[in-house]
Assembly symmetry: C2
Homo-oligomer: 168 residues x 2
């Protein structure tokens, strides 16, 4: 669309989104999510996937690009139908950009509670605690209290990989 613009992080300050704007927008539209899905090739048979996503109608794809560019991480992808999302999954970016950003610039909504849990999981994963049984169970426990309305994989996990571990 603008081939003359060099591929650097927003040389035009008017394109930058302020931290407060970002916090307000994420308070409204952001989702801090810990995905836990079966994966036969990883330890304990379950993959833990923390991600921050923001879904918007395609008319606001430029805004998602500005979010990506201002935060300097993540990707903008089609989500479903006419919806696009900005998504950050890379653990290094979550740990070094996203978590410190929202540690510094506090969310004002109750989404702050989800963020606290999310940050705890990311920090544990950086320390590779998810590779220990205890750490893995702790993460599943934290994730089970997030994103209300979703099925809670931790219940299934308790019955399979760690059956009897925590009930003794």
């Amino acid at each position: 669309m603008t081939p003359q613009r060099p591929n650097v992080e927003s040389p035009n300050m008017s394109q930058e989104l302020s931290p407060d704007w970002i916090v307000g927008f994420i308070d409204g539209e952001g989702c801090f999510h810990i995905g836990i899905s079966k994966h036969p090739e990883v330890r304990f048979g379950y993959q833990i996937l923390p991600e921050l996503t923001v879904v918007q109608h395609e008319r606001d794809i430029d805004l998602l690009q500005r979010l990506r560019s201002t935060m300097n991480c993540g990707v903008v992808r089609r989500n479903h139908g006419d919806r696009y999302c900005w998504r950050v999954r890379d653990l290094k970016n979550l740990a070094e950009i996203i978590v410190p950003f929202f540690d510094k610039h506090k969310l004002r909504s109750k989404k702050a509670i989800e963020f606290q849990k999310f940050a705890k999981v990311v920090k544990k994963m950086v320390k590779q605690e998810h590779l220990t049984e205890e750490g893995f169970q702790q993460i599943c426990q934290i994730a089970s209290g997030m994103n209300r309305g979703e099925p809670r994989p931790v219940l299934g996990l308790r019955e399979s990989p760690f059956q009897g571990e925590s009930s003794g």
Copy 2:
């Protein structure tokens, strides 16, 4: 909940929401809407009701109260089920607080387009242009291009109060 706190506008600055946060949150969750509904007792038989609303789950009712208090207008009401809303309908507050606020602090999403139309309608209503046939029709025309997906009352209006007026 806090009876010792005097009923003034947020003496505690930490309770205030910054303009940028508000813009980000409204970019995500706000709705600028022009309601047009049948009302036999008003001129032309239709009432024009501009309103700004923000709907949230009841867990964030405090945040809606902070919005109300920071902007110093509107009401917080139950919307439906476990949803509450902050709503500004008073024309004076829309014209003197809401429109100047978002004129000064620009929305970053495409919702800015809806706001422009909304502001145009509010300004026309302050000048009582909705009480003239021409002004009323202009407002219906503007409203018909907003809030996609809703029925467009202007079509019905064209067939009733102003039949033949604009087709000649």
